[in-house]
Symmetry: C2
Subunit: 332 residues, 2 copies
């Protein structure tokens, strides 16, 4: 059921089989499987994750390419509630290992916040990432285009950028190398550093060799209409006309709540085994938090794997159910 400030007291004494931190594609898929394995789970969703911002989910089998990410999330929420999962809007502040169970401290409510603690045998970290965006004085100008024709995922949206004039917005010199993958889709690439990046001579030469302009003047704003970005206005008044853009400024990982646990990391990613188990035997990680492709299809499969591994373990540690009342007579 849907939990809120007003009814969550009912669950504070309950030990869930699994608490899932994050109600995106990975977390919802895990919850579908867990409930169908007859395990109890609570999904805690802070809201507005990466899939919420996807305007069109163009590469997920079964859904029309125009499906917005938020429709996928809504369908999944309805699906898991129908299966009896609990769902709470809240921000997970800390996951503490108490030995037999995890204690999960949640901030609920932006105003008059409360801080309930829920308990579960297992935790699935499914809280994902959020992309860094160019930082302008008026961020609404960025939000007007991000997720529309100002993309954040090359694998998802390279196809949409094919043979178009594309701005590549970077936050580090290394990220400029994205140009040499993006050029599979389009050669009409202009790289924007907004004056925030020190670019060495080797990289400058590589860009010249490919004919990709490097624009280091700070950005005043994106120009365009109706969520369709048509160029970039620089602080010196110049306008660079564009048909599309790709932001490659890295991501923020929503994993602060795990920092007290001793886990294996590779860069920002959690290291997991083939069933999405981290180096902690009762903690799983799915989707963008772990190594691998940041794709909805991968997160959904990760949820399947993590839920199945947990079910197998709980099942094997449970007493087998015998048929006490034999309805069809004596066993031969």
């Amino acid at each position: 059921m849907k939990l809120s400030k007003h009814n969550l007291d009912q669950r504070l004494e309950h030990e869930y089989d699994v608490i899932i931190v994050g109600g995106g594609a990975g977390g919802l898929s895990a919850a579908i499987y867990l409930q169908r394995y007859r395990l109890s789970c609570l999904v805690i969703e802070k809201g507005k994750g990466r899939s919420f911002w996807m305007q069109e989910l163009r590469n997920y089998l079964g859904l029309s390419p125009e499906t917005p990410g938020r429709d996928l999330l809504k369908q999944g929420q309805d699906h898991i509630l129908e299966l009896g999962a609990d769902y709470l809007r809240g921000f997970v502040e800390e996951v503490r290992d108490e030995g037999e169970a995890f204690a999960v401290k949640v901030k609920v409510g932006r105003q008059d916040s409360i801080y309930p603690v829920f308990r579960a045998k297992y935790v699935i970290a499914a809280s994902g990432i959020i992309d860094h965006l160019p930082h302008l004085d008026h961020m609404q100008n960025v939000y007007d285009y991000a997720g529309y024709n100002l993309h954040v995922c090359l694998i998802c949206d390279g196809y949409e950028m094919a043979d178009k004039r594309c701005g590549l917005f970077v936050g580090s010199e290394g990220a400029i190398n994205t140009a040499f993958v993006l050029n599979w889709f389009t050669p009409y690439i202009t790289v924007f550093t907004a004056g925030q990046v020190s670019v060495g001579e080797e990289m400058r030469q590589k860009l010249r060799d490919h004919g990709y302009p490097l624009v280091e003047t700070p950005i005043k704003q994106f120009v365009g209409h109706h969520h369709e970005m048509t160029g970039v206005e620089l602080t010196d008044g110049d306008i660079v006309p564009l048909d599309t853009g790709l932001v490659a400024m890295g991501s923020h990982y929503h994993n602060e709540y795990l920092k007290s646990l001793d886990l294996d990391w590779k860069g920002g990613n959690l290291v997991t085994d083939s069933m999405c188990r981290t180096s902690h035997p009762r903690l799983f990680a799915v989707g963008d938090l772990k190594e691998g492709l940041n794709q909805v299809s991968i997160a959904v499969a990760d949820g399947t794997l993590a839920a199945t591994a947990i079910w197998r373990e709980i099942r094997r540690n449970s007493a087998p159910r015998r048929w006490e009342d034999n309805l069809i007579g004596a066993v031969p």
Copy 2:
């Protein structure tokens, strides 16, 4: 575009980037990604695979739990045709490695068949499995219930069987062990061997210990109405009342066309790496053909992985695209 006997000549000189054998969940997902990576692909589907028979796809995020498998397949076919993939109904008889490319021989048409040969750099084997069903004199009686409340997948449908009287239909002694997983969902299990299985004393004792009857009399027919099986009629006239059933008689792997290739197998499954590549560097396997869970969500992710690995390889071996006509003036 849709290929048929009447227009496939147009593609016999074309070398595809990828031919995908099988248009189920894994194959269609791979085709979506490949087309969006701007690679050319042909999907060859023999029809009536495992997902076609699923009456309700209850555990795939984004689709209502009542969605039939054939709706997923139809949506995927429309999706890949819109993206420019080719699609052919036919049966792949052989995949031959010609060194630089694979030659894929297809039987097209049940009557007046023709046997065109298509070529591709890569092949994705996505042809899946089909479950063995109890063999009765009148197979239509089995088809009336299979995929409805006579299930074939414990992970998918254990939830539907919860606490119901369940018939477990086995084709080997080993398969009887399925009872000791199925009993997570229901303890009211009756095992049917149809007299085809030699059951040792140890297994008989284990069944007795759990209170699960073993019925070795051959089956005359399933009884029920409107796709709802309500029991089994034995050849001796007895009727065993049931609420549901699980068939655990193994599967037929659609992989005969690969037998001339030297590949690593583990049992009936192809061994693959983390990107679904088999031991042949240009052959990938996705979904039920490979090791792992036989789930739609896994097949869809497999398609993502195989397509991405192929794209990376083709891209890295291609000349980079330079911006020849610099639209915004000299490079700084």
